[in-house]
């Protein structure tokens, strides 16, 4: 019996997963491999996208449903607090590069587009500034992108007078989107560039917004596809290696793109390239990106003249260099 079990284990890890998936179409552990599979799963079982995410968390992560809702409620609370903190308290980073930008945008008398858009941008900046200034945030999906879901969802809730519960369901949809991106591409700037961080967060936000406004599964996935199309290729080039420039302003631009994509998708304008293929393109671009564009602070904005000057100023210069023979071990 033990031998049998060992045999099955080996077979499964050797890539017979595809076969196993076909004979077990309802197997949860394969749910977040693709958007196509996610949709099929929900249609087959006649459940909503967020139901399937709850089910995943309960069956795969042994969580209780009540705890999942509590956790989401806490996360959304922290997101809203981050927005408010960033708009009220002093937000100056140790390097000085971040200096209360969100408040200035929020209070500026001239709205470029509309007061709502102005608030959207200010809020995304605010939550991200809190992150840069050692305040409390929700990494969603990462710390570098922690202003995008707060900025977009806070503003959507305000404009459309949505219940908190609706937003929490939207967060679950966003989590499902991120699970697939993580599986098919990456969520880390060091692996896939900034498209993987702010791009993924924008995709989560866009899908969540279309969901909250009553969009269909196809519209939600289309919003994800369009957002990814807009964010493809973005490199990770933080000045001095700090999560400040350009990270903070990219949280604002990604929030704007999440909104434009949601608007396009809700009108049933097709992304043409299916969402799974868009994510694959993102993975392919990330894989071929040079390492100087992957959080190493060696390329792009970090490598500019000013970027290097700032690095010289904020990084510790007075460090000990060991003589070779004293290397530990």
């Amino acid at each position: 019996m033990n031998q049998m079990r060992a045999f099955f284990f080996v077979v499964n890890t050797n890539g017979i997963g595809e076969f196993y998936k076909r004979i077990n179409p309802n197997n949860m552990s394969f749910l977040f491999d693709s958007f196509k599979g996610w949709k099929q799963y929900c249609l087959d079982k006649d459940i909503t996208l967020y139901d399937s995410v709850i089910e995943y968390e309960m069956t795969q992560k042994n969580k209780k449903e009540a705890d999942i809702w509590t956790g989401l409620g806490k996360a959304y609370q922290v997101m809203k607090e981050a927005v408010d903190t960033g708009l009220q308290e002093d937000m100056t980073s140790r390097s000085g590069m971040i200096n209360n930008g969100a408040k200035k945008v929020y209070k500026h008398p001239l709205s470029v587009l509309s007061p709502e858009f102005q608030r959207l941008i200010a809020r995304a900046l605010a939550a991200k500034e809190v992150n840069s200034c050692m305040g409390r945030v929700v990494a969603a999906p990462t710390a570098g992108a922690s202003g995008i879901l707060p900025g977009t969802l806070y503003t959507l809730q305000e404009i459309h007078q949505l219940e908190d519960q609706k937003i929490l369901e939207g967060l679950l949809v966003g989590a499902g989107i991120a699970l697939i991106i993580e599986e098919k591409a990456s969520l880390a700037g060091a692996v896939g560039g900034c498209q993987a961080e702010t791009g993924s967060a924008a995709a989560m936000a866009s899908g969540a917004m279309v969901f909250c406004l009553g969009g269909s599964i196809d519209q939600i996935f289309n919003a994800v596809a369009i957002t990814i199309q807009c964010m493809l290729g973005l490199v990770c080039d933080p000045v001095a290696g700090l999560v400040e420039i350009p990270c903070v302003v990219r949280n604002a631009s990604a929030s704007a793109i999440a909104n434009s994509s949601a608007q396009i998708a809700l009108a049933d304008v097709s992304a043409v390239i299916p969402v799974d293929e868009c994510i694959e393109a993102m993975g392919e671009i990330g894989a071929s990106m040079e390492t100087r564009y992957k959080e190493t602070a060696l390329g792009g904005l970090a490598a500019t003249l000013t970027g290097q000057e700032i690095a010289k100023r904020v990084l510790i210069q007075d460090i000990e260099i060991l003589p070779d023979e004293e290397l530990p071990q």
């Binding site: 890890t13 997963g17 552990s29 977040f32 995410v53 995943y56 968390e57 795969q60 992560k61 969580k63 956790g71 989401l72 806490k74 996360a75 922290v78 140790r94 390097s95 809190v130 992150n131 840069s132 200034c133 050692m134 305040g135 409390r136 945030v137 929700v138 990494a139 969603a140 999906p141 990462t142 710390a143 570098g144 922690s146 879901l149 679950l172 966003g174 989590a175 991120a178 699970l179 993580e182 599986e183 060091a190 989560m204 001095a240 290696g241 700090l242 999560v243 400040e244 904020v314 990084l315 510790i316 210069q317 007075d318 460090i319 000990e320 260099i321 060991l322 290397l327 530990p328 071990q329």
Partner: protein, 225 residues
């Protein structure tokens, strides 16, 4: 095939910025180290290596490590005021930077902590996403994640020690996730590091401490609780 992430890896963790490897991971290294010491230190010498050597100030890793030494959790907003709070508590500390320790992981921190007559040395690595590896404890290879419950036993190198220890743990109905043994020299002390899925009772720990060939025992329950 790695196990898949949770919803709360996507919407979370709730953390203090700016980055999980420079704050959350660093706080957790310190939280693990003070459990090795058995409480907050009176004096701490903190060395940042390699990539951390230049960037620790800009990323606030200095506040993160001090916060962790005072047992702040990874999402505690007080981390921001760690310098003021540690001064009030009278804990002495020194920071050092070493730039080219090529044998170490890029984001490595060494902590030498003193409390009363006891001094310990812990080397921790921040692996990203808040995950850590405690690479060394007092010069022994340790390599544990501090994600579960960890037992560190320094013992004389007697025959049957591994079987004896694992038997005792088996009585506790907990699974051993990883177990490793390292020695400094022949017939010297051996260091057993055991990561377990759930905690063990205080009586069991007390019993293990009475075994004559066990010289030192450190129990580190889940550091995030």
């Amino acid at each position: 095939m790695g196990s898949k992430s949770s919803v709360f890896d996507m919407i979370g963790p709730v953390m203090i910025g700016p980055s999980s490897s420079h704050t959350a991971g660093v706080v957790r290294i310190a939280r693990a180290a003070i459990r090795v010491l058995g409480g907050s230190p009176e004096n701490a010498v903190i060395t940042f290596y390699n990539s951390f050597a230049r960037t620790y100030e800009g990323h606030g890793s200095d506040k993160a490590i001090l916060g962790g030494l005072m047992d702040f959790k990874t999402d505690d907003p007080h981390i921001r005021e760690a310098f003021d709070i540690i001064k009030e508590r009278g804990i002495q500390y020194t920071f050092k930077s070493i730039g080219n320790a090529s044998v170490y992981h890029p984001n490595t921190i060494k902590l030498v902590l003193t409390k009363g007559a006891k001094t310990i040395e812990v080397i921790g690595e921040s692996l990203g996403g808040g995950l850590i590896n405690i690479a060394e404890v007092d010069g022994f290879n340790a390599n544990f994640t501090a994600q579960s419950h960890t037992l560190i036993i320094k013992a004389q190198d007697v025959a049957g020690a591994i079987a004896f220890i694992s038997n005792i743990i088996a009585q506790e109905q907990t699974n051993i996730a990883t177990m490793s043994v390292s020695r400094k020299g022949k017939n010297d002390l051996a260091c057993h590091v055991i990561e377990m899925d759930s905690g063990i009772r205080a009586t069991t720990i007390d019993y293990l401490k009475t075994i004559p060939w066990i010289k030192d025992l450190i129990y580190i329950p889940d550091i995030d609780l």
